[in-house]
């Protein structure tokens, strides 16, 4: 699936998006896999209270099912307007 990063999440991880092969069932499973990869991922996902997630462009919870999802995005709370 495509995993997207925005704002300081993107800056910490160093890339805006990547294709990830995973058998993770929930967003939290995916986060654990990414954290285990490298220090920059561990840093980006250090404080989940500062993060939001969207599955296929809908904001959801970290325990959401991602089976069959095409696009998972991680970002801080929005600050537009």
């Amino acid at each position: 699936m495509q995993v997207l990063y925005f704002a300081w999440v993107r800056e910490r991880i160093g890339i805006p998006r990547e294709e990830v092969e995973t058998s993770a069932k929930t967003v939290m499973d995916l986060i654990e896999e990414l954290r285990a990869r490298e220090e920059r991922y561990a840093a980006a996902f250090a404080d989940l209270r500062a993060l939001k997630v969207a599955v296929d462009q809908d904001v959801t919870d970290f325990d959401a099912d991602i089976t069959g999802a095409r696009e998972i995005a991680f970002f801080p709370p929005m600050t537009g307007g």
Partner: protein, 150 residues
């Protein structure tokens, strides 16, 4: 489509004319225009960069407009949000709401702005003399959204 996400500036006079042209049933039009301020978090700002999530942004804004249209008797809604680099004084966002009645036009414009702040995937990075910093989400914005819960 009443929602645009673009780098180009916008012209409130032209948008207003497009919304009301040839109509005689509209009683009230309310607009909100957001501008880049030269101060952010207590320090002077020289530039701002607005990042967004292409695709989701348009979806989120359209859902907010649809929710407003379900709650109030609106005759027209227009939302324009810019992204990319913006200088202090630049226009960021325009919301226009048209209704037979002024209270509906005011409430719908406030509702759209409150929801946009917390639900539309935009992120501001402000640059000052000491470098760039991502703008923190404000608790007041969550409180402003919460007042529309029902």
């Amino acid at each position: 489509m009443s929602v645009s996400v673009q780098t180009e500036d916008f012209d409130i006079g032209a948008e207003m004319a497009a919304l009301t042209h040839g109509r005689t049933d509209i009683g009230a039009v309310v607009s909100f225009t957001g501008l880049v301020r030269d101060m952010g978090g207590g320090r002077p700002i020289t530039a701002m960069e607005l990042e967004h999530y292409p695709g989701m942004t348009e979806r989120a804004l359209s859902a907010i407009v649809a929710e407003a249209e379900a709650r109030w008797p609106l005759q027209g809604v227009r939302v324009i949000h810019r992204f990319g680099p913006l200088a202090p004084g630049a226009q960021i966002v325009l919301v226009l709401t048209a209704s037979p009645h002024r209270q509906a036009a005011f409430e719908a414009a406030e509702f759209i702005m409150d929801y946009l702040k917390t639900r539309a995937p935009f992120w501001k990075k402000e640059t000052g003399a000491d470098g760039g910093a991502w703008v923190d989400a404000r608790e007041e914005d969550d409180a402003a959204e919460a007042r529309w819960a029902r």
